[in-house]
Amino acid sequence: MKRKRLALAVSYTLAILVAILFLLPLLWMISSSLKPNYQVFEFPPRWLPHPVQWSNYPEALTYVPFGRYTVNTLFIAVMTIAGHLLSCTLVAYAFARLQAPGKNTLFVIMLATMMLPYPVTMVPIYIGFKTLGWVNSFRPLIVPAFFGSPFYIFLLRQFFLTLPPELEDAARVDGANTMQILWHIILPISRPAMATVAVFSFQAAWNDFLGPLIYLNDQSKYTVSLGLNFFRSSYDVRWGYLMAASLVTMLPVILVFLLAQRQFIRGIALTGLKG
C-alpha cells in the first residue's frame, strides 16, 4: 500500500512537472504579448507585465491587415471543409459498403498515397495550376479538397464500417437507392464522424503554410500563417506585437481544439491506429 502511494505521488509530480514544461511557453507568450516594448528586453525579464499593455493587441493587428488575412483563411478553410465532406463521404461510403472488382487494390493504393511526401508532386502541381492561370488565387488551395483526401476517406470508412448494415438493408428492401440511403439514413447518424473530418480539415487549412507560400503572392490574399511570417520578417524586434499576433493566430485553433477534443481523440481511435 505504501509503495502504491509512493508511486502515485511520483506520477503526480511527474505529470505536473511536464504540464508546467508544456504550458510555460504559452504563459510566456501571453506575458510577453502584454508588455510595453521597453520591458520586453529587460533582463532579468519580468514574469508579469506591469503595466499591462492591452494596446499591443489592436496595434499588432492593424500593423499588418490581420482582419483581411483572417477572412481569407476562413474562406479557404470553409471551402476546404465543404470539399472534403462532400467528396470524402461519397468515396468512403463506397469503400465501406459497395462491392466491385478492383476495390481492394484501389483501397491499398489510396492508403499508400498517404505516405507520399508532398514535395514529390509539388512542382508539377504548381506548373499545372500556373498553366491554368490559378497562381495567386485561392483555387489551388481549395479545389483539391473536392477530390477527396485519403486520410479523411479512411477515417469515414472506418466509421461507416461500425454502423449496423440492417438499417440500410431495410431501406433497400423499401426500394431506396444508394444515394438515398446515404443521404437519409447514413448522414444523419454520422454527424460525429463528419464533425471529426471538419475539425481536422479546418485545422489543416488554418495551419497550412507551404501551400499559401507557394501560391499566394499578393499581400491582400495572404492567410494568417503567411501574414504572421510576413509580420515577423518585417518587424523583427517588436516581440510584444509578434507575440500578440501569434496568440491571435493560435486562438481559433485552441478554441476549436477545446470544444472538439472528443472529435480529435475519436478520430484517432476511429482510424484503428490501435493496430
Partner: protein, 310 residues
C-alpha cells in the same frame, strides 16, 4: 423442388446484373478520389520524373538534359549534400526521441490520476498549434539574451548558448522546439494503450509480476504495431521538415539548418530550377520509400500481432 433448376438461371442473371450495377455505382462514387489520384498524385509523380530529366525555368521551353540534374546533385552540389546531412541527422535524432518521449508521456497519462483529462489536454495542445505561430513563439523563447530558456538557465547559473544564431546549436534548438509537439505521438499511443486487455495484467499480477515486468512482457509487445505505425509516420514527416527551418533560421546560420525540403523549395520557387527540384524530389521519394520498405521488412521480426503464433 423440381422447379428449382428452371428458376436458378434467371436469378443468377439477375444477380449478375445487380453486381454490375453495384460495381458501376462504386466507381461513380469513388470517381472524385480516382480523378484526384490521377490529377494530383499519379500524374504529377510521372511528370516530376520526366521534368527531372530536363532543364526548365518555366520561361523558356524545357530542354532535355538526360541525367545531368542527378549528376550535378551527386557530384557538384555541396549544398545538396549539406541538406541531406542536416535532414538525416535531424531525423536520426528526432524520431527516437519522439517515439520514446511519446510513449513515456502516454504511459504517464494512462494512469488513474485526478484531473487526467486536463493533463492530457495540456500535453496535446501544442501539437495542434499553427506551425508559423509555434515557430515564432519559440524564436522568442530561444532569444539568446532575454529568451525564456536562457533566463531559466541563468537561474541555474548556466550561460545558455546563442541557440538559433549559433551554427553549432541551431539544429539542436529546432529539435527541442519540435519536441513541444510530442503530444501528437502520445495520443496515438494512448489510444492503443486503452485497448490493451486487462485480463493479461490480472493474470500477470496473480503470477507475481511487478509493474516493470508487465510493462516489458505485456505492454511493450502489444504496443509494437503502434510503435511501428508511429515510426513510419514520424520518419516520413520528419524528412519533410520545412516550416520551422524556413521561418526560424532560413537554413542558417552557415547552412547548419538547411533542410532538404527547404533547399528543394529554393531550387523550385526561388531559382526556378524545376528540373533540379524534381530530381531532388524523386531522390527524396526513393529515400523515404526504401526506408519505409526496410522498416516494413524488419517489422516481421519485432512487431507482434495478437493471435499470430510465432
Amino acid at each position: 423442388m423440381s422447379q428449382l433448376p428452371s428458376v436458378q438461371p434467371v436469378s443468377r442473371r439477375r444477380r449478375f446484373s445487380l453486381a454490375r450495377r453495384e460495381a458501376l455505382t462504386f466507381y461513380l462514387m469513388i470517381s472524385p478520389w480516382l480523378a484526384g489520384f490521377l490529377l494530383f498524385t499519379l500524374g504529377p509523380m510521372v511528370a516530376s520524373l520526366v521534368i527531372s530529366f530536363t532543364r526548365w525555368d518555366l520561361l523558356s521551353p524545357a530542354r532535355f538534359v538526360g541525367l545531368a540534374n542527378y549528376q550535378k546533385m551527386f557530384t557538384r552540389d555541396p549544398l545538396f549534400w549539406q541538406s541531406l546531412k542536416v535532414t538525416t541527422l535531424y531525423t536520426a535524432a528526432y524520431v527516437p526521441l519522439e517515439l520514446t518521449g511519446g510513449l513515456i508521456l502516454a504511459l504517464l497519462m494512462n494512469q488513474r490520476l485526478k484531473g487526467i483529462a486536463l493533463f492530457r489536454t495540456i500535453y496535446y495542445l501544442p501539437s495542434v498549434l499553427p506551425g508559423v505561430a509555434f515557430v515564432v513563439l519559440w524564436m522568442w523563447i530561444l532569444h539568446p539574451d532575454v529568451g525564456l530558456l536562457n533566463t531559466v538557465l541563468s537561474y541555474l547559473g548556466i550561460q545558455g548558448p546563442r541557440w538559433l544564431v549559433d551554427p553549432r546549436w541551431a539544429l539542436s534548438a529546432l529539435l527541442m522546439m519540435s519536441l513541444w509537439g510530442l503530444g501528437r505521438s502520445m495520443v496515438i499511443y494512448l489510444a492503443s494503450l486503452q485497448t490493451l486487455p486487462a485480463h493479461l495484467y490480472e493474470a500477470a499480477a496473480i503470477d507475481g509480476a511487478n509493474a516493470w515486468q508487465s510493462f516489458w512482457k505485456i505492454t511493450l509487445p502489444l504496443l509494437t504495431p503502434t510503435i511501428f505505425f508511429n515510426l513510419v509516420l514520424s520518419i516520413i514527416s520528419t524528412f519533410q521538415t520545412f516550416t520551422s527551418a524556413f521561418v526560424a533560421t532560413d537554413g542558417g546560420p552557415l547552412d547548419s539548418t538547411l533542410f532538404y525540403v527547404l533547399y528543394l523549395f529554393r531550387q523550385a520557387f526561388q531559382y526556378f530550377n524545376m528540373g533540379y527540384a524534381s530530381a531532388m524530389a524523386w531522390f527524396l521519394f526513393l529515400v523515404i520509400l526504401i526506408l519505409t520498405l526496410l522498416i516494413v521488412r524488419s517489422s516481421e521480426h519485432w512487431v507482434y500481432y495478437e493471435g499470430r503464433l510465432r
